[in-house]
Every structure is written in C-alpha cells, then in structure tokens.
Amino acid sequence: MSEYDYDMISRYFEGEMNAEEKKAFEEQLQQDAALQNEVDLFRDVNETLKMKLHPDENELAFRNSLEEMQGEYFKSGAKVVPFRQLRRWMAAAAAVIIIAVSMLILAPWKKDLYKQYAYIEMPPVAQRGTQADSLLSQATENFNNKKMAGSLPFFEAILRDDPQNSFVHYFYSIALLESGQIERSRNELAGLYEGTSLFKYDAAFYMALGYLKEKDKDKCKEWLNKIPGDANVYSKGQKLLKKL
C-alpha cells in the first residue's frame, strides 16, 4: 500500500473527505478486500493506541477512585509471612520477639525525624493549557494537599507520554514513598540517582529518608553520605546525619 493511501484512510476516518471523494473511497472499499483489511487494521491500531496511550479525564478519575480503594483493601508493603510451616504459637512468639527487638534497636520515639525532613511541596504549574499541564496541575494539587495516593495516576499519565521527565519522576517517587509504596519509590529514585538530571542528589536524599522511614539507620546514613558537598541538599543531609 502506498503512503498516499494511509493519508486517505486517515482523512476518511477524520471526516475530511468531500462527498465525492467519500463515495469513490467507499466504492473502492466494497470491491477491494485488501483495502478493507488495511482499513480495519488501521482503525484497530488507532483505537488501541488511543486506549493505551491517551487516558482521558474520565479514565483518570476512574483510576483515581481505584487508587483510593487500594489502600483500604490491601496492606502495602506486607510480604508473605514465612512462618507458614511453623505452628501458630511459634509465629506468635516470633512476633513478640521481633517487636521487643525493634523497640530496642529501632527507637520508634525518633520516628518524627522522617516527617520533619520529608515535607516538600511541588512548585505551582504555569498554565499553558496543554493536556500535560492540566495533568500536572492536578498532580500538584493532590500532592500539595497531601493526597499522595490520589496524585499517583496523574503522575503516571504524564510519564506515559513523557517518560524522561525527571521533574515528574522525582515528585512521583516522593508520592509513592509517602503513600507507603516503598519498593516502587525506590525503583524511581534509583533511576534518578543513576541518571544525570538535576534531581540526582535530591533522589539520594529521599532514598535515605525511605530507609529512615523503615528505621534502617545504616542504609539511611549510607545514602546521605553519597551526597557531595556541592549539591543543594548537602547541608540538609548533614544536619540529618548529625541527628542520627
């Protein structure tokens, strides 16, 4: 099939043909099975890509409601309990030991250190009226109102269209961290840290905070120490190091 024909098919679907052209095209379609196949595939490809790459406002609102339910019905971060083979009382005993040990090692009375350092707001969006901007402003609104889970689908929609956007990756990773999806947040942050964007060391800082949230002080320090002296977050990182 020549390229001219794809333009023709596309004009046919967009309703850009005049009556005469349309009639001629439909007549040809009737007689030409190969053309009919091309047209069917063209329509299928277009519809499918639109479905997968261009979620509209309705779908984003739908995903938003799912995201809100997720936390209510699934405990994030919960892993399969490896005690299946143990007797119930042994599992219970182990749990008591774990709690006792974590009281000693992890010092839960220090837990608001995380909150103190994790606080961040997204800068306001300069509206230019494109779809990406409207998504970003919705992500920002949710994020700054502490509706972290609610912001996730908007970030995801932007990243589908613009997977290299490190600004969005950065705030997305924080939203994941704040909504308790630590593993996913870590994947995002690791990507940023390995890259060369402006957010490289900010990502290292939030990586450290992720470990702080889990009371893993060693890992937390390890990440804080990766921040070099000329980075913006260096002094913040050093302050946190001292408190640890």
């Binding site: 890509l49 479905m51 019905y73 699934f74």
Partner: protein, 190 residues
C-alpha cells in the same frame, strides 16, 4: 458486535466502572479482593502483588468495556477471578518462579461462558501489547507525531504545536503510520 449475545445481570458492575460509580467500585473491592488476595498469597505472591494484579485487571476490564465493546455475558465474580489468575500466572512466568500449586483452570465452578469472555479479554490485551511494542520501535519523531495526533485536537493545532506545516504533518503522519502498520503486519504473519 454479536446481537445475539445475552447480557448477564451483573453487567451493572461494568456500567459502574465505566461511570466511576463509587458505590459499585467499593462493592467490587469489598466483595472480591479477599479471594484474589488469597489465591496470590497461596501462590508465591505478596499482598502488593495482589494489589497490583487486582487494579490492573479492573483497568483492563474498564478499557475494553469502553473501547472494545466488552459486555458481560457471564457472572462477574468468576470472570474477574479468572482474569486475575491468568494475569498472575503470566507474571510468575515472567519472574521465572516456581510452578503454581493451584491451577486455576481446574476450578470446577467456572462455566464455559466465563472462559470465553476471559479469552476475549486476553486476546484483545495481547494484541494491544503487540501494537504498543511495535509503536515503541518507531523513531522518536514518529512516536511523538502519532501520539499527538491520537488526541481529539484539530490536526492544524497539532502542527502548530510541533512547529511544522499542516501539509508536512499529514505527510509525516502517513509515513509513520505506514511504518507502524508494516511492523505490525510482519509480526502478525510470523
């Protein structure tokens, strides 16, 4: 689609998803998450895995109900469970994990109509994944042009946004589409 298809009374679940009806969404979560969780936890998965699979299944069902004329010709519960189970099996395969202990297809109370509908969903989803994979093979400029043209925006506006003339956009889009279709056809024939 086939006008003889008989729509199941559970179609209200799909309608509720399409209309983002909070009560229906909540009903779906409260009634069905337990079973999906149970199955995945028993088969080498975590609660996070169960959460992901459940959400992905609902999004697939939503998208196909909206764009691919999926209607419910069987009860909703076994359909949703089967979709989740198949997704989880696929995920396990991807991770190269152990074999699953409870083969889902052996569950006795699943009717033919449920399998048929789950098959339909799976075929459509696999096709969509193929289209997407071929789309990713295109050059960056082609991907940008096709993606921008998928929206409902007038093509003249898209041309301005991309900083090209309308005629150039049409020509380029036609070339990119031709390449995409050629890639898809070569995959479908092989």
């Amino acid at each position: 689609m086939d006008p003889l298809k008989i729509i199941h009374t559970d179609q209200y679940f799909l309608n509720g998803l399409l209309q983002n009806d909070q009560a229906v969404v909540k009903e779906i979560y409260s009634r069905f998450t337990g079973k999906v969780k149970g199955y995945i936890l028993q088969n080498n998965g975590s609660e996070d895995d169960a959460a992901d699979i459940f959400q992905e299944a609902l999004i697939d069902i939503y998208q196909q109900a909206r764009f691919k004329e999926l209607t419910l010709t069987c009860p909703f519960e076994p359909f949703l469970l089967l979709v989740c189970k198949r997704k989880w099996l696929k995920e396990l395969k991807k991770r190269g994990r152990q074999r699953v202990t409870n083969e889902p297809e052996r569950l006795s109370d699943i009717g033919e109509d449920v399998f048929a509908l789950a098959d339909q969903l799976q075929v459509q989803e696999e096709k969509a994944q193929l289209f997407l994979a071929m789309f990713q093979k295109l050059g960056e400029r082609c991907r940008e042009i096709i993606k921008k043209c998928l929206g409902n925006k007038p093509q003249e506006e898209v041309a301005t946004e991309l900083g090209v003339s309308y005629a150039y956009l049409r020509k380029k889009k036609s070339e990119c589409t031709a390449e995409l279709i050629r890639l898809i056809q070569s995959k479908q024939e092989s």
